[in-house]
């Protein structure tokens, strides 16, 4: 449904997106993860035909965003970062306006409005001015707007921001239910959200895609080996080689003078006990010893902050330099 090929977006000297390519199949839910300013919103703006890309092509439902924007716009429901609501209108007036803009009228408009009002729990606030609603309700009105014309493709920029935990779960359920019949791209900061609702995750950083896989695969790829972090107060010159000699340890990385070591061990082998014994026996001053487990959160941080990584060049290397 969505085909993005080698998209580059430059603002003057600044490159916001650098040769980004990905695709979304029909019925798939794709999460966009990345720190602020990574290029998530820019990508979404290009897909919704708000702005053109500098290079590359983006196709939505077979239509090129640059050549046939009207066809693309008809098939997309878009929720920008800030819900695009008019404060001086009531919820019902606003949805009527949105429906008319998209060519709905008469009974179709009424039934679409009823469906979304029900689906998003807006029944009680229909006749209230949007300006008087809470952030959570505005967000839901924004979602209702995106869903109103029942588009095959949904692009949601941080759809659960500003909602309370109960509403977040409701919206996630809603997105899960949309999967299958709708293709969805959503961006998020919240990693469990990506794990909860998405089949595929694209991690984007500095305008480049640094990883793309299912949430499970992404963390599995980093768990090719067990990792242990070790902090010593007074390491000796031969610490490195003696640690490496411990059975099961494959690799040792030290981070210079801070006394922090990262041990890579065989899968399924816990060497912590032995390492502790060795450290104490050698009088290195054991300060900290812990196993590193890789959650999606770690993957995300490792991939998006590698320039200021503490020790784990190894971690980054094991994810293979994608993008």
């Amino acid at each position: 449904m969505i085909e993005v090929q080698q998209i580059t977006k430059r603002y003057g000297q600044h490159t916001a997106l650098d040769r980004v390519s990905f695709s979304v199949a029909k019925g798939e839910v794709l999460a966009f993860l990345g720190p602020n300013g990574a290029g998530k919103t820019t990508t979404m703006r290009i897909l919704t035909c708000f702005m053109p890309s500098t290079e590359g092509t983006a196709k939505v439902a077979g239509f090129d965003c640059a050549d046939q924007p009207m066809e693309v716009k008809r098939r997309i429901g878009y929720l920008p970062e800030t819900p695009p609501v008019y404060q001086e209108l009531t919820v019902a007036e606003y949805l009527t306006f949105v429906g008319r803009l998209r060519g709905l009228s008469g009974k179709t408009l009424t039934s679409s409005m009823q469906r979304e009002v029900e689906r998003l729990g807006l029944g009680t606030v229909q006749q209230r001015l949007i300006g008087n609603l809470s952030r959570g309700f505005r967000q839901r009105v924004g979602l209702a707007q995106a869903l109103l014309h029942d588009p095959p493709i949904l692009i949601l920029d941080e759809p659960t921001v500003g909602l309370d935990p109960k509403q977040i779960i409701e919206i996630r359920e809603l997105i899960k239910n949309l999967a299958g019949s709708h293709s969805v791209i959503l961006s998020t900061h919240i990693l469990p959200e990506a794990t909860a609702v998405c089949q595929r995750v694209v991690i984007i950083s500095g305008g480049r895609i640094v990883a793309e896989d299912t949430p499970e695969q992404l963390s599995a790829r980093l768990r090719q080996s067990e990792k242990i972090s070790l902090t010593l107060k007074s390491p000796a010159a031969d610490t490195n080689s003696r640690l490496k000699a411990v059975r099961g340890v494959q690799n040792v990385f030290s981070s210079g003078d801070s006394g922090t070591y990262l041990l890579e061990c065989e899968l399924g082998k816990d060497v912590r006990e032995e390492v502790a014994r060795l450290a104490v026996a050698s009088g290195w001053g054991l300060l900290e010893l812990k196993a590193i487990s890789m959650t999606l959160e770690d993957v995300f941080l490792q991939l998006t902050r590698h320039e200021e990584a503490l020790a784990p060049e190894a971690v980054v290397a094991s994810v293979e330099p994608a993008g």
Partner: protein
């Protein structure tokens, strides 16, 4: 309902729930009404003088009241219409609904025309309310309706021009005050061009500069002269301003 009609309906709704239209409308009607009253009283005083001197007086309300009133209304419109137009695009950009509009399946020219038509209808409504003045005067006196109708035609066209300049100014910025200021500035420059034109005299340049200003075109209509040349001026100026607004909105996407 077409998308353009949807935009017009939405704009009208937005105008009437905000206090701006009521404030602007009240000031406009108050000032125009006050001016009309002053011109009528002034005309009455002149009539009394003439009666004392000549024993009889034939008052021409067209000259004494309406010509002056139309000339003054021009200035009031220059100040109040930018207040009406300033929010059109600036507010959308400030409140981030701009992105929503531009990702809706509606063309930019439809957005611009819809917004222009919306505010134009509000203006026509306000102008319609001023018709109470000639109607009331008609009860007590006799005057020629023709120049009044052409004067109103002039006001409608002049208002359309002012509003289109306002739409353009509003598209330029996300700050409403700046938008109002820019359109008042542009309109003042257009106004003063006529002065520059008469300074340059009856040369080709002088005539061209005078033509660009709305002053002589409006004056013709107020005097009861309906000339195609003047109508063409207003239509082409409005179309040009709306076209520029279209370009500005389109280019705002690239930033």
């Amino acid at each position: 309902m077409t998308p353009v009609q949807a935009i017009i309906a939405k704009e009208l709704r937005s105008y009437f729930v905000s206090p701006v239209v009521y404030a602007v409308g009240a000031v406009f009607l108050l000032v125009v009404g006050l001016l009309a009253y002053l011109y009528v009283v002034f005309a009455g005083a002149q009539a009394i003088q003439l009666m004392q001197v000549q024993g009889s007086a034939q008052l021409n309300l067209n000259d004494l009241v309406f010509r002056n009133l139309f000339a003054s209304t021009r200035f009031i419109l220059l100040i109040i219409l930018p207040i009406l137009t300033m929010r059109l695009f600036a507010e959308e950009r400030k409140l981030r609904t701009f992105e929503f509009l531009l990702t809706s399946p509606i063309r930019i020219n439809e957005i611009v025309i819809g917004k222009f038509m919306g505010v134009f209808l509000v203006f026509l409504g306000l102008l319609g309310l001023t018709s109470i003045m000639p109607l009331m005067l008609a009860l007590f006196s006799d005057f020629d309706w023709y120049p009044i109708l052409t004067g109103y035609l002039g006001l409608v066209l002049l208002g359309a021009l002012f509003l289109s300049v306002g739409v353009l100014a509003s598209a330029l910025t996300e700050n409403q005050i700046v938008a109002a200021f820019v359109s008042i500035g542009l309109l003042l420059v257009l106004w003063l061009l006529s002065g520059l034109g008469s300074l340059l005299g009856d040369t080709a340049v002088g005539q061209a500069v005078s033509y660009v200003s709305f002053m002589e075109h409006y004056d013709h209509l107020v005097r009861g002269l309906v000339d195609t040349k003047d109508l063409v001026y207003f239509f082409s100026a409005v179309v040009l301003m709306l076209f520029l607004a279209h370009r500005v909105v389109d280019s705002a996407r690239w930033k």
